[in-house]
């Protein structure tokens, strides 16, 4: 765990302690379970986003994708009678296809990630609303999918299964990001795509793969969100979720320029965000201030991180100058 991550963890614990002291209900099992469920849902989304951000890209369409794929999933199993073990992989594949399309436009046709995914944000939202004719997709009374509901909205030993899913996915993705060849390529591309290309890496494919991973994880979280809310009004479902994911990554130490950030960081970022949401509720802060609190905290976090970086750089410079000479003179 890097120093950055450790700092974030300490911040989470301190904020938690303060909230718990002011309002002991923070530590009630029901509150913790609810919060960790939300952490699970948003965490899966944020991990996907992190894979894109590490390449120096951005994925703005995830909120709309959550709405579109959520609508489709509910429609498939509730009204079209598709068996959920069929519908679930189908939705994941659809998410992958969306990611692939984005990646293809970005790497092959050289469009900017921001532009491509901004268009995606608008398109998928529109399609979702059109698909249900702006109606709400939901389950009929008495419709039950016990296994699916257990996996998505259920609990094991009091722990929400969505949270467990996040842990499993996080471990797998940690290995992928921090230990695999692919993960190294992602970092290399994020740091300097040209140099990576000159080292013989097929950078286009790697970047595309990052968008596919993001798409699949977004699809998975779309299913979780759908099963959590159980009814989806496509005009508002998942709105701003891309910003939650990006904020979690930024809080977790990711640089939007790419090449920086850790998986633990993005998880901790998600935890902190949800903790803040919870704090707003528990401390009786008007919920209309919700976004303002989050924005303020992210700003402060990024500012502290930035200033710390400047300070460290200056110290390094001083040291290097003191050590002095050797090597060629700079022209």
């Amino acid at each position: 765990m890097s120093k950055k991550d450790l700092g974030l963890l300490i911040l989470i614990l301190v904020v938690g302690a303060v909230v718990a002291i002011i309002n002991p209900r923070f530590l009630l099992p029901i509150n913790l379970a609810n919060t960790s469920n939300l952490i699970g849902l948003f965490g899966i989304l944020a991990i996907g986003q992190a894979f894109v951000i590490i390449t120096g890209g951005i994925e703005l369409s995830v909120g709309s994708v959550v709405a579109l794929l959520g609508v489709l999933f509910v429609d498939f199993i509730a009204t079209r009678g598709m068996a959920w073990p069929v519908a679930l992989p189908l939705i994941l594949v659809l998410g992958g296809i969306i990611g692939l399309a984005h990646g293809w436009l970005i790497t092959r046709l050289k469009l900017q990630p921001f532009v491509v995914t901004l268009c995606g944000l608008l398109i998928y939202r529109g399609v979702a609303r059109f698909y249900t004719a702006d109606g709400t997709a939901g389950f009929a009374f008495g419709q039950n999918f016990p296994e699916l509901e257990f996996l998505t909205a259920g609990r094991s030993y009091g722990v929400p299964n969505s949270f467990i899913a996040l842990i499993v996915i996080a471990i797998v993705m940690w290995v992928v990001l921090h230990r695999s060849v692919f993960g190294r390529y992602l970092y290399a591309i994020g740091k300097n795509e040209e140099a990576a290309k000159y080292s013989g890496i097929r950078t286009g494919r790697v970047v595309m793969a990052a968008y596919v991973i993001c798409g699949v994880l977004t699809a998975l979280s779309a299913i979780y969100f759908a099963m959590y809310t159980r009814s989806i009004s496509p005009a508002s479902h998942g709105q701003f979720y891309e910003l939650y994911a990006i904020a979690a990554a930024v809080l977790g130490g990711f640089s939007l320029r790419g090449g920086e950030g850790s998986l633990i960081g993005v998880i901790l970022g998600t935890v902190l965000l949800q903790e803040l949401q919870n704090l707003v509720n528990l401390l009786g802060i008007p919920s209309s201030l919700n976004f303002a609190v989050m924005g303020g905290v992210i700003l402060i976090g990024v500012l502290v991180d930035q200033q710390w970086g400047v300070y460290r750089e200056r110290r390094l410079m001083l040291e290097a100058t003191r050590k002095g000479t050797a090597g060629a003179a700079a022209e």
Binding site: R179, V181, A188, N192, K197, Y198, T325
Partner: protein
Amino acid sequence: MRRLGVRLGPAVRIDEPCEGRQSADVAKTAHRLLSGVMNYSDASIGVSTTAPFLSLEGVRKTYPGVVALDGFSMEVRPGEVIGLVGENGAGKSTLMKILGGVTTPDTGTITVDGVAHDRLTVEASIGSGIAFVHQELNLFENLDVAANIFFGREPLRAGPFRLVDRARLRALSAPLLKRVGANFSADTPVSTLSLAQQQMVEIAKALSIEARLVILDEPTSSLPLAETDKLLDVIKALKAEGISVIFISHRLHEVERVADRVVVLRDGMLAGTLPKNAINHDQMVKLMIGRMLKEREKAAESARPPGTVALSAKAVRTTAYPDRPVDLGVRHGEILGLAGLVGSGRTELARVLFGIDKSLGGALQLDGKDLVLGSAADAVANGIFLVPEDRKLTGILLDLSIAQNISLPNLPAHARRSLVSASAEAVTAEKQKRNLGIKAPSVATRTGTLSGGNQQKVVLAKWLAMNPRVMILDEPTRGIDIGAKAEIYGLMRALADAGVAVLMISSDMEEVIGVSDRIAVMHEGQISGILDKEQFSQENVLLLAVGKQPK
């Protein structure tokens, strides 16, 4: 914008033509400059050889880990022409930055016109009449000519809003442009001007501050040979008017012709000063590079006769000159030098050979078999490696460690079940670090903290750790200190002796002649000739570089 110029030896630089019209423009500029200068410099006539206009005392400037300038002293008297020479990295640019007020020296005094300063500000530098004409033009391409000439000194309209008086700006610029013989108006956007026209803008800018010391930084490197004479005449005329000139050039024979005194920089220190009667080419080279020549000679001896053609380009067309097919073959066991003017299409050819750019036509062959490269990854898979020109942008990842850089092109071989093995990486990197003598605390050191020479060794190491069949090196020793240069030459020779086909692109004439087994010369996108060892001479390379026949 294309810069034209080929490095002649470590310090001699010879350049050749762009277009005739541009050349004429520049010549005109030179003469106008001359007459323009005469208009206002009368005051300084007759003061020469008295007190120095500018003197530097014990100037030292360090950057993290590097001493760029150390205990440097010099003085410039009114009407004196100082030739300032030194290799890349010797500290010339740092000195210029200090004189321009862009950077602050750590210690030392700068005395201008009898007033001592610890540092100059940009304003103080301009205010005391120090003008620069840079090799790489410092113009804002998005602004128009007048805005460039008076940048930071714009005439303002009355009133609290500090609005630029555009009409006056243009009115002030027009006479200056007329004096430099410009055939464009003051409101022309700089982005539409040719290189020669941009140089006129620079000179007009120097005129606008009523310069007393004009610093010309490689002014001739982008000028065609024929026009250089005229510029040198201008320098002499400036001198006659009592204006001092610092003339920085790699073309030593020009320095020889025009300088009253030569100041030689080496590794940030004053290597020596040559008075007028002692200025000659050999003396300057000796002061600049010292032991260099011998090392190069050693690298030149090939241990084995060249083998079959490894990589060949047949009628390949590149983006540099899409209408001109290139044919070139590099053989196993040889170092093929690729010389030519900057902008002659050498780098573009290298990019095609490495699969970064798609060939616009023609075919590649590797060991007699057709080769199609869709990407650099394909080239790497075929054992064709490139050490690119821009080390920091494309050669290495500055934020990764030495080990991570070295393993990057061959990462799957350093992984088990596609999980990277840090220990395997370290083993490979340690071996390369030892073999190449990379100076670093450990292989986990960030490459960004290394010196240029050691960074270049890391670039080489990542390819040497694999099995090169063809190694392309684009300006492999640019900006590298002398010791590391010799080592890199040794490595290239060792590669060739091991049967690797080595293609070395270089603008350093002495390097090309000293290291290569054969020299191919490019001229405007095509190979104008290939020289064998017995035909090697700077003259022959130059003749081919400008599209003429060698002797």
